[in-house]
């Protein structure tokens, strides 16, 4: 009896620790997916749509994505924001999208949209982690 209870607790703890790693990682790669794999479907979908819209609109507005080796401190900060978008950033970099020169105001808005999308995804990742460890419902 005691062994069975202990086994259940161990299995539950392992499942929580597994999810605490998996949910943020998947949530970083695909915005909102960290919530979806924890069966928070509606929250995950809304996060996905919001972050995805912001990032894709930024790209469509000819925004620029920052590279890791920008040199300038502001470029590095921009990169930190952009990298938060995870899979979107990887896809964009791999296809050489978002390389236009910022020649007009809309393109500058687009650049900021993509940075904010990444930063919002960082918040969503932290939220997925809190759900995984049971700190939030």
């Amino acid at each position: 009896m005691a062994n069975s209870t202990t086994d259940k607790k161990v299995a539950q703890a392992e499942s929580i620790s597994m999810m605490a790693v998996l949910a943020p990682a998947i949530g970083w790669l695909i915005p909102g997916a960290g919530h979806m794999i924890q069966k928070r479907w509606m929250r995950g979908l809304l996060l996905f749509l919001s972050i995805m819209s912001l990032f894709l609109l930024g790209l469509a507005m000819q925004g620029r994505i920052y590279k890791a080796n920008g040199g300038d401190i502001l470029d590095i900060l921009g990169f930190v924001g952009d990298i938060g978008a995870g899979g979107l950033y990887i896809l964009t970099s791999a296809n050489d999208w978002g390389q236009g020169a910022i020649a007009f105001a809309t393109a500058d808005y687009g650049t900021k949209f993509m940075i904010v999308a990444g930063l919002l995804n960082f918040i969503a990742v932290a939220d997925a982690y809190h759900i995984a460890i049971g700190k939030k419902r």
Binding site: L46, S50, L54, M61, Q62, V116, A117, A126, D127
Partner: protein, 60 residues
């Protein structure tokens, strides 16, 4: 494909997306999430109008 948004529509899109994420991530229950999301959206848009009028006054 290129999309051109004016300053106000860019601010509205930004406010909408950020408010949804803030609402979901900063509150626990669905009701609180909706209320906080709407509050953030109103604050973002209110800030746009306040800043707009402040700049208009400064230009005078």
């Amino acid at each position: 494909m290129t999309i051109t948004l004016n300053h106000f529509s860019a601010a509205v899109v930004f406010a909408l997306c950020a408010s949804i994420v803030f609402g979901i991530t900063h509150r626990d229950t669905t009701r609180e999430m909706v209320r906080y999301g709407l509050y953030c959206f109103a604050m973002f848009l209110g800030g746009v109008f306040v800043a707009g009028w402040a700049m208009w006054l400064l230009r005078r």
